[in-house]
């Protein structure tokens, strides 16, 4: 049987792959996908904690799963707004490469 440590390590690895995508890739859409991976890693550890820490009635702690539901909803809204911003940015600058977007650079 997989233990809690298995799930936490896999979730941490997924988070670090997402973090690597955000840090190493220069395409703004791929950076956005890395953000989604990181959100999903957080969801995985929340669900694992909810399943491994049973309440006194012997059922999983569903509060954790409700939080995951909220995270998924917020992530969907975030993707919609973020992609709209990327499209507006592409219209103005004709690029999705972050090194070509230096208007806000100090």
């Amino acid at each position: 049987m997989p233990t809690l440590a298995h799930y936490l390590i896999v979730s941490g690895l997924l988070f670090s792959i997402g973090l690597a995508g955000v840090l190493l890739r220069r395409n703004i859409l791929i950076i956005f996908m890395g953000l989604e991976l990181m959100l999903n890693a957080a969801n995985l550890s929340l669900v694992a904690f909810s399943r491994f820490n049973l309440l006194s009635d012997g059922m999983p702690n569903y509060n954790g799963q409700v939080l995951v539901f909220f995270i998924i909803t917020v992530a969907a809204a975030e993707v919609a707004v973020g992609l709209a911003i990327i499209v507006a940015l592409f219209r103005a600058k004709q690029t999705t490469h972050v090194e070509d977007l230096t208007t806000l650079k100090f």
């Binding site: 690597a20 799963q65 707004v81």
Partner: protein, 167 residues
């Protein structure tokens, strides 16, 4: 059996997640992300979170990824020209990620109860969707309404952002 399924799906998930970062073509990255989300839904099933698994497939692998692919096609993104690779960026990124992983392994190995196997639930036949629904509408009714308002604000914001001329 459970352990084998856990490893199969988590390795698939990590492999496709690595594909998102490593593949050059944005469309391949997006398809890889879809597969990663579907494998993550299977991992949720090994945790008996059926409702979350279904929502994961519907919202992430369905709606969110269609949006991503739609935008990639709309912007007509081609394969990235490989620009000169900045070595300092890769070394810095690798150091941050490696440090994070080693810190994580240390924390998890010192966590009390981390090596506990999955405890048996008292009622394995319980309706997962109903129980999440009770928690959502009884204990978290107010946050649920707030999330509704948030979705409305996001919709209005997207419509405003995608107008031809921004005032």
């Amino acid at each position: 059996m459970q352990l084998a399924l856990f490893w199969i799906f988590s390795l698939l998930m990590l492999l496709f997640a690595a594909g998102v970062v490593l593949l050059r073509n944005p469309v391949s990255s997006a398809m890889s992300l879809v597969m990663s989300f579907v494998a993550l839904a299977a991992v949720f099933v090994t945790l008996d979170a059926y409702f979350i698994a279904v929502v994961q497939v519907l919202v992430y692998a369905g709606a969110v990824m269609v949006l991503f692919l739609f935008i990639i096609m709309l912007l007509d993104l081609r394969e990235e020209k490989s620009r000169r690779v900045r070595l300092s960026a890769w070394v810095g990124g690798g150091l941050v990620v490696g440090g994070f992983v080693s810190a994580l392994v240390q924390v998890v190995s010192s966590l009390p109860g981390a090596d506990s196997t999955k405890p048996a639930v008292s009622n394995p036949e319980a309706n997962d969707v109903a129980l999440v629904g009770f928690a959502l509408f009884r204990d978290f009714n107010f946050p649920f309404q707030i999330i509704g308002v948030l979705l409305l604000v996001a919709t209005v914001g997207v419509v405003l952002l995608s107008r031809k001329e921004l005032k």
